[in-house]
Symmetry: C2
Subunit: 479 residues, 2 copies
């Protein structure tokens, strides 16, 4: 990756600004405006992600953005976790509201009382719904565009099952969806962790989450899945009648990919020193045509370029940049914005019957006969997607490290960051003081143990307390 | 239309409930849960509408859901119109906020301060952005699902131009978009009105709106377009530098199709006494396969039906209803939910090599050879779309009436409603008392004059004040 690691933050902020992805000047703290160059990609990501959920049997729904105070307060751990960060609606028009409402920070307490009304027998299960849209959290930490804000765009899927096994199978399926979308489709590598008990979703039994690394070696949480057990079912009375006519509490999971944040990971993972690089199927412009004009040949070249634009528009998101800027200026502009393929066409190209085709990620140039352009660009698109993912994978796997002592961990973290595998006493609540110690000594957070692949240390001591290590955990700096 | 007009409201409420379109039991007044059977259609309508806007040069954006008090208050008429119906966020976590915020009821005051930052020269114009999502208004009128609520889903497009002519051309283009989507694609007839001055959008110069009629003869406003002149531009400093280097205020328009409400019109316009009927391209299920089982042939028939399901799923949104209910029960269930085409297959059908195909809107049945099914269903889909639109058009044009006196108007309104053309003194502010008089005497509202087709009465008197009539207006009961 040719984004300098030390300057990642600077690079990120300048791409956000120069590629016109979002504007931070909105006059409410923590809120930003997502501009078209980002919104188009985010919209495309939404469609793909929604399709992936629907293929797996989820259906769309729209629940209200507001939730009554009463609902929020029903689940003890949940309200404790979320109360500090909710926005309160207390007035409407000139009326003080008798019942205050919150803006949803997440929708368990909006949805599950309805689930209780909808589910009677086993034939109503599984119930698997999702909704897409913004949620609001009163963040007090420093905000960063697309990564952490007081408003973000996500999908939340809330699923209900008759048995614990079915719910756990859903966690596995969510991981498959994550692999399909985040890794295969968007080309972003990640590790799927089970979070330690002190770091789980408020009200859940277990939290599982896909963490990627940004170029500075710090972890960024992407989708998370929560096994809710029947914690919420008991509070909101989500029950079904079993075969013997006995009422049983349902088992629930929820899954939450933040599209805003995945977009941040997308930009960061694939970008380079020239700006945005996007997988071909996500790019706003898959093809940008730049005519190379010289005095006297403008009409001839432009007319040819317009013909190309018309033909390629049938197949790709295409634009012809016929503006007055120099070709060099245009090259830079469209590289910055992540146009996937550039087609240059000048008088000599017309004579030779070939256009110059330049691929955004590698900068590779090739002369391609005009009538083969579409076919060749399809192939380039496929190659680009695979190559971006492979490049990201290679970098990511090189960021895996190990440490047995706090000193080793501190050095690993300081030396480029990444995920450092460390022996740990326990990931139950009792382990939290050890995690605190790791944080103080190494500025690193315990992100969890690898999901689906139990890693048990043999003969090792906990990196923090020195007691027998029963589990490997992964530590990293984090966003 | 075979929805009894007197019972329209009852019919509507029962379809909403029985077809599981939305649930009114959410525990906040005026807020409802949109269930999957409606959400899927709404999502499809969103995609089509967004594509239509993008084809015309609009780009997507996401502006915050919250707006500062200061912004809301900047435009005098606007704040006067909206202040009574906004939800106020006054607290976050445990903190009373120093600056209160409102939940957007519409986004002029969120977007235009940013437009002011983005627009410098003529090359930045036109600027045409839209966003999709919910808005919130503290409705005090009676709410009705999808028609009027405290939360609804819409698209809002906000456009900026250098000249008044360009802005007025945009109003015409918005009308074309409305025609393409609402009428051609969704099959809903409407009249495009210019609203009288006393009934325009708060802060606008003129409001234009597409009104349809529900089966009870009452008008329902669908998309509206507002010519904002430079009212907001002056307040939010939206300016550009002209060719002489002089700063000029921009001209603005905004366009707002409420997808929730268009969905209500869709259900009401095409439905019948059996339930939902939807245009083929919008139906959740385009094909439902119902196997006709008899003791002993279950496996044979089901296996054949599964083969059909697999083949038809390649082309249509298809389901096989292999449940235990009787065929008659299944027929009713899928008719209620608006499955577009039913394919029945039993042992005799297999032997004869044909399935029974039933079209939802007309109930027409036909025997279709298995290998011609896909082709035939494509044709049925196309026929259905055209036929639904034509049926709606025929009914709608029969609802046009005229009246010269309050007495005639009152009778026309009582006798089935519809749009009644009446001679009127003026649609400037001075006409408002006459509109009040019409409302009191006839329970009818003055909706406006036909857009794009000046209709001037000759030698007629205003229906309310008896002075010379200068303009034809249309009156109707309304939602």
């Amino acid at each position: 990756m040719d984004i300098p690691k030390e300057n990642f933050s600077e690079w990120y902020n300048s791409v956000i600004k120069d590629a016109e992805l979002c504007d931070l000047r909105y006059n409410l703290k923590g809120f930003v405006v997502i501009m078209p160059n980002a919104a188009d990609v985010i919209s495309r990501m939404y469609r793909l992600y929604e399709d992936a959920l629907e293929r797996r049997g989820h259906r769309k729904s729209y629940f209200p953005a507001l939730i009554s105070e009463k609902n929020l307060e029903a689940e003890k751990d949940h309200v404790e976790g979320f109360a500090p960060e909710v926005f309160w609606v207390t007035r409407a028009g000139k009326n003080e509201l008798e019942e205050k409402m919150i803006m949803r920070p997440t929708s368990e307490t909006a949805m599950y009382p309805m689930y209780s009304l909808w589910i009677n027998g086993k034939t109503d299960l599984p119930l698997r719904l999702y909704q897409s849209g913004p949620v609001w959290r009163y963040e007090t930490k420093a905000t960063k565009p697309f990564i952490r804000g007081r408003e973000f765009y996500w999908i939340e899927a809330h699923d209900v099952f008759a048995t614990e096994e079915d719910a756990l199978a859903q966690v596995r399926e969510d991981m498959e969806t994550t692999e399909e979308m985040i890794h295969q489709s968007f080309g972003i590598p990640f590790i799927f962790f089970r979070r330690p008990q002190w770091d789980k979703f408020a009200g859940s039994v277990n939290t599982y989450a896909a963490d990627t690394l940004l170029p500075d070696g710090r972890a960024l949480q992407l989708p998370s899945t929560h096994m809710l057990g029947n914690n919420f079912a008991k509070v909101f009375d989500v029950k079904y009648m079993d075969d013997e006519g006995k009422e049983e509490f349902c088992w629930q999971t929820c899954y939450g990919p933040s599209i805003s944040r995945i977009f941040a990971a997308l930009v960061s993972t694939h970008g380079d020193s020239r700006g945005m690089v996007l997988p071909f199927h996500l790019a706003n412009l898959q093809v940008v045509i730049v005519p190379i004009l010289k005095k006297g040949n403008e009409e001839k070249v432009l007319s040819h370029a317009r013909g190309l634009e018309e033909a390629l528009s049938q197949v790709f998101r295409t634009a012809l940049d016929s503006g007055d800027d120099t070709p060099g200026f245009k090259f830079n502009k469209w590289e910055l914005r992540g146009a996937a393929v550039r087609v240059e066409v000048g008088e000599r190209d017309i004579e030779s019957g070939k256009a110059v085709v330049v691929r955004r990620d590698t900068g590779e140039k090739a002369g391609v006969p005009f009538d083969e352009l579409a076919r060749r660009i399809v192939a380039i698109g496929e190659e680009m997607n695979i190559s971006l993912r492979k490049r990201a994978d290679a970098w990511f796997s090189g960021m895996g490290k190990e440490a047995d002592t706090l000193e080793e961990l501190r050095k690993a973290i300081e030396n480029g960051g990444g995920f450092v595998k460390v022996p740990f006493c326990t990931d139950s609540r009792e382990g939290e003081p050890c995690a605190e110690k790791v944080k103080e000594a190494c500025a690193a957070n315990i992100r969890g143990s690898k999901y689906g692949k139990e890693e048990i240390p043999e003969g090792k001591k906990c990196i923090a307390c020195g007691k027998e290590a029963r589990i490997y955990q992964y530590a990293s700096r984090q966003y």
